[in-house]
Subunit: 310 residues, 2 copies
């Protein structure tokens, strides 16, 4: 059986690394490929076939794909030879990624093949340089998902110093055609944008819990009942621009810039390892145990569907 | 005609201040009152009747309420005499609120009447003290909405030093019965919780735009496609606790605590008035003009409905 919304009659995609992110991308790609045989998964784990057969269906509508026709291999040259897109989600260390890309560049045969890294922090510039890529550096770009990518629309596209404009353009076009939300970053900043924003809020969250203002579960309820749903519909700038009425963001800051600054002035500056961890880890464990992520992802899909109605 | 889901056959609610927040609360209350005649709106603007008649319907399902039976007045003693709940959303300055509460305490006749302030920053402790409240201080509590309250479920309940536990309990019960999400704060911290969290993210957002990493509209798209919908379903602690798998939040920090700390180390410390404003205000204006908030609110309702399915 074939992908339900296929737009790729010919494209061949090779995924390097069959972890959670790799299989989530596999599920996403299957949706648009004409046949699962266009997908290759490379991983050296000895139980790859059993693992893919047992894990991948969790990310897919029941019985819709003939997963047995996905090409599984532990040989990099075989995996990438005929690929149009090579997407890696291996361990987050530069020597690993450098070794991978050097081999990919050596064995890939299609001259226009795109090289995508799912890294959350190692820049395309660093990867291309460490791999000693010459021409292929133009085709390497970071495509950082917000997990899990088969659910969340965001893809941060982060070009390196030598990534070509054509690579960026083709990458953006690919994802837009699949109804996803690629956003191109103009600088290779550490953590990229989504994580930096979320971690800034997380830091203040840690501060408020540590300071005894609210508990972990109370803080989550605050977010779930306010900025979460609001920002699903209109991001922070748009929301505050609306909050300023016809005067926009300028009027917003004129009205409550003083309050904003007061909050910034005594914002928390907690650090990892400061000693707040044990209490907060325990509160999270007590409140949530093991979170049912398939339920969370199902509801998130419905939220995304509702937000798209705008 | 009467409220569509009424649970209050007798409760009388008086709103002080008919601004956007006041009328949004009016719309919310009307939904649950047996009759609009149980609602009183106090404001000194000379065109109060015309203003309410033209503005309030925008927040309500069409033709469902007989708004002409709402009691409108510019007399505080008349407005509060028979009130069970007095809810103020007046100007954000302490002398104003002190004067209001002193008069309310003098003229309210029901001994159990609750005094709610919608302030986003002036504590119940400061208001009660400035108003010279004696016994009535026990019944005064901050009930801070996330705008607009007829759409957004969050209500931050922030007791002052002299607020009684019974007042907090009754306030929470009132809102829970209406399907809202009251969260009681354990300390009167400036900005309360929701704004502090949102402003922490906003600060990093300003930094990233100022630094040229993304534009205003791109940053909003990042949030709308990632943490917005995610946090509508599971707040930040719950999300990262899930992200750590069976090991929870502890495993999450073990895995990527280094990345978190790196982002915190070079997070932006922009201040209001630092000179970033003109460019960011202009980007927002160019991207959004005047935001259609009724459309935004309609979609937000659908997102909230979807998130409730969990």
């Amino acid at each position: 059986m074939s992908g339900t919304h296929y737009i790729d009659a010919d494209t061949r995609i090779t995924l390097i690394g069959a972890g959670t992110i790799g299989l989530s991308f596999a599920a996403l790609h299957l949706h648009f490929l004409k046949s699962p045989s266009q997908l290759t998964i490379l991983d050296t784990r000895p139980d790859l076939a059993e693992y893919v057969a047992s894990t991948l269906p969790k990310y897919l509508p029941e019985g819709q794909y003939d997963l047995s026709s996905i090409r599984l291999t532990d040989s990099l040259p075989d995996a990438v030879r005929d690929a149009d897109i090579v997407q890696e989600q291996g361990p987050e260390n530069l020597p690993f990624k450098a070794a991978i890309w050097a081999q990919v560049a050596e064995h890939v045969e299609k001259p226009g093949a795109l090289f995508w890294s799912s890294t959350s922090g190692i820049t395309a510039t660093a990867q291309a340089e460490a791999a000693g890529l010459v021409d292929a550096a133009a085709r390497l770009v970071v495509v950082h998902p917000y997990n899990p990518p088969h659910v969340m629309p965001l893809l941060e596209v982060v070009p390196g110093a030598r990534t070509s404009e054509e690579t960026v353009r083709r990458t953006v076009t690919f994802w837009q055609a699949r109804g996803r939300e690629p956003v191109v970053l103009h600088k290779e900043v550490s953590g990229f944008v989504a994580n930096r924003l979320a971690f800034a809020l997380l830091r203040e969250a840690v501060h408020l819990v540590r300071d005894g203002v609210v508990g972990v579960e109370e803080l989550d309820r605050v977010v779930q009942a306010s900025m979460g749903p609001r920002w699903a519909v209109a991001g922070p700038f748009k929301s505050y621009h609306a909050g300023g009425g016809p005067g926009g963001l300028e009027a917003f800051f004129k009205n409550i810039g003083g309050t904003v600054q007061r909050c910034w002035d005594d914002s928390g500056r907690e650090n990892v390892g400061d000693g707040w961890e044990d209490d907060i880890f325990k509160q999270a464990e007590d409140a949530y145990g093991v979170v049912d992520t398939s339920r969370r992802d199902r509801v998130t899909r419905e939220v995304l569907e509702a937000a798209r109605k705008k």
